[in-house]
């Protein structure tokens, strides 16, 4: 049961500016309202923590365009055959039944900051006292010439989980021995820095498991180096000799264009052809962030490091991939961590609960081959107005098999943990 009333707010809009003060007045008798846009790693966590910890004192509404959420995290393990699709797809039922959260399945079209309302695609509006914006990323298709939303139906990006991921899996499964896969890797900043390289590992695992060792995966990267590079390259040489080639800009000289139909990528060096093209373009904050006037020139949203509050509006908090979170990478772990800081601050403002100094964390695991997991992580705190790391760690090359296996098992435990923390 959603407790906004379309007719009522429609009428108020019709009644003109004078009536706009009304919703605030009406709500003053009731509970404070928090609205969350985006039911992913950041949004679902924020909604759950605010509802859970305020014990019913705050009315929480979660808006997401979908009925179900498929996690990008572990979607590479689905490609590699380690997980089925259902196991990475989650519903919002427990958030509704156990925490009293109103889930609205709709696309949020814009935010009226002056009257503190979210406007949905059908024109109805949802009022808030505090708004949490966690829309994840949008792809900048034309950052790679020749690429587009239509081209993605042939050359999937699979950088938002769902049908794109299933399409990539189907295409991967159809690759024959000796055929090539070409990945165009994204420029910084993008969600999940080790993600493309874990994906290559999982694709190579799948090919090798089928005996397709004459196939090759070519990575065309606009970056000079990438996350956990030493660990990945060590793993590729060990498990998939001759099957993975990585070209940075000093080798390919620049990625000129792609042609999805013919499966080709034009670079300064050469034209690369693949039976499967996986093009991951540049990224920006989910469109609602720009629509609401929360982004800067970078396409992402500046925030206050101590609270995750938007620099542009005191009633709005931006978390997850859409935010500019200093030294924190864009990851599900980071989004979940930022959500808890925002939730604590919002509760303290609306219900006078205690506020504590912000602390953030991240860990990203990647699977290279069966039972060979690696990880990188850090703890963070606000420092001089930015989120800065206080300590970091990363797996080492040459680690023992037992350590790598334990790391993989830890990642499985984390997946259970974070999805329970998001969806209850």
């Amino acid at each position: 049961m959603t407790n906004f009333n379309r007719r009522q707010f429609g009428l108020m809009f019709g009644a003109g500016a004078a009536a706009l003060a009304l919703p605030t007045y009406l709500r003053a008798q009731g509970k404070p309202r928090v609205v969350v846009i985006g039911g992913g790693a950041g949004g679902a966590t924020a909604a759950r923590y605010i509802a859970k910890d305020s014990k019913g004192e705050i009315d929480v509404t979660l808006i997401d365009a979908s009925e179900k959420f498929t996690t990008c995290f572990f979607s590479n393990l689905y490609l590699g055959g380690f997980r089925d699709f259902d196991s990475i797809t989650h519903g919002y039922e427990r958030l509704q039944s156990n925490y009293g959260i109103n889930k609205i399945t709709a696309f949020a079209k814009s935010v009226d900051k002056a009257s503190k309302m979210v406007i949905l695609a059908d024109g109805s509006s949802v009022p808030y006292d505090r708004l949490v914006v966690s829309p994840g990323i949008d792809l900048i298709y034309d950052s790679v010439e020749g690429y587009s939303e239509e081209a993605a139906e042939i050359a999937p990006h699979a950088w938002k989980a769902g049908p794109q991921t299933q399409l990539l899996k189907a295409k991967l499964d159809a690759v024959k021995d000796g055929e090539q896969i070409v990945m165009v890797a994204p420029p910084n900043p993008y969600r999940c820095p080790p993600g493309p390289y874990e994906r290559v590992s999982m694709m190579a695992h799948m090919l090798k498991a089928k005996g397709h060792t004459n196939s090759k995966i070519i990575i065309l990267d606009p970056k000079e180096k990438f996350s956990k590079q030493g660990l990945f390259q060590e793993g590729w040489a060990k498990y998939y000799p001759g099957m993975v080639e990585w070209y940075g800009p000093d080798v390919h000289g620049g990625i000129k264009s792609v042609d999805a139909a013919s499966g080709t990528v034009e670079t300064d060096l050469d034209t690369f052809t693949g039976a499967l093209l996986n093009v991951i373009p540049a990224q920006k904050a989910g469109m609602i962030a720009a629509k609401a006037g929360l982004t800067n020139d970078s396409g992402f949203c500046p925030i206050d490091a101590a609270t995750m509050r938007s620099d542009n509006d005191e009633n709005i908090f931006v978390i997850g991939d859409a935010s500019i979170a200093g030294a924190m990478p864009k990851s599900g772990f980071s989004a979940n961590s930022q959500a808890k800081v925002a939730a604590m601050i919002i509760r303290s403002e609306l219900t006078d609960s205690k506020a504590f100094p912000a602390k953030y964390a991240n860990t990203c695991w990647s699977l290279i081959e069966t039972n060979d997991g690696v990880k990188v992580g850090a703890q963070y705190e606000p420092k001089d107005g930015k989120i800065a790391s206080t300590s970091t760690f990363v797996s080492q090359t040459g680690e023992e098999d037992s350590v790598r296996k334990a790391t993989y098992e830890e990642s499985e435990g984390w997946y259970k943990g974070i999805t329970a923390d998001m969806f209850g």
Binding site: K354, S391, D421
Partner: protein
């Protein structure tokens, strides 16, 4: 993390030969190896302490859910109050399908399918469980860790602050007390909880994600976490 049974097992087992229970051949020596499935959570033998699960020393004849200071699920405690005691038969049935044996108990163990495995394990357990649990909970820790932990255990942690800080922990350690690949930290004895954290800090136990967290925690914060985590019940 590698915690083994603490008695000199192989010495005892040298004197054991294969023997029969009913019609079935049992092999307690195999049982020792099979205990690996339990040893992440349970200790047994002289000096055994509570971990994720209660220690199993003297478990034969013991009422289910009856160790003081261990936070059992209400389901298992109730089963004990209603008369469930541990015997070769009941342990066998429990570890076959923990979820089904006592509905709502919180042992996150999948179950041991093969009857032969279960009887071998139970036969070994019967011999190794001595009913002489550790008198000193800090027995195994280094004196450095014990010292650090003692300072924190004297503090009154703020459970509200602990609850906020716990946000970082429950991304991995499920608040329900379920454990799937990462141990449960719900319902651990306070000393064990605090000491574990210092063991990561001082490299007595090695795990990068844990160490990275603990090096950033002050004593006050560890006390707050201990106050919060030991004050909640597993679901």
């Amino acid at each position: 993390m590698q915690i083994e049974a603490t008695a000199p097992i192989s010495a005892i087992l040298l004197f054991l030969s294969s023997m029969t229970v009913g019609a079935q051949e049992v092999d307690p020596i195999r049982g020792e190896k099979l205990f690996k499935a339990c040893s992440n959570c349970h200790e047994v033998g002289e000096g055994a302490k509570n971990k994720v699960g209660p220690h199993l020393d003297g478990v034969f004849g013991r009422t289910a859910g009856s160790i003081d200071g261990f936070k059992y699920s209400s389901a298992l405690k109730r089963a004990g109050e209603e008369g469930l005691t541990w015997s070769a038969e009941s342990i066998d049935a429990y570890i076959e399908k923990p979820r089904d044996f006592v509905k709502g108990n919180r042992m996150s163990y999948r179950g041991m399918e093969k009857a032969q495995d279960r009887s071998d394990l139970v036969a070994w357990l019967e011999r190794i469980s001595l009913n002489s649990p550790s008198a000193d909970i800090n027995a195994e820790s280094t004196s450095e860790v014990v010292g650090f932990a003692a300072a924190v255990l004297e503090m009154d942690g703020d459970p509200d602050y602990g609850e906020y800080l716990s946000g970082d922990c429950v991304t991995c350690h499920q608040i329900s007390g379920q454990a799937d690949g990462i141990p449960s930290i719900i319902g651990l004895p306070k000393e064990y909880f605090v000491r574990s954290l210092f063991e990561y800090k001082t490299n007595v136990r090695q795990n990068e994600v844990m160490k990275n967290r603990v090096v950033n925690l002050s004593n006050e914060e560890i006390a707050a976490l201990a106050a919060y985590f030991t004050g909640i019940q597993p679901q």
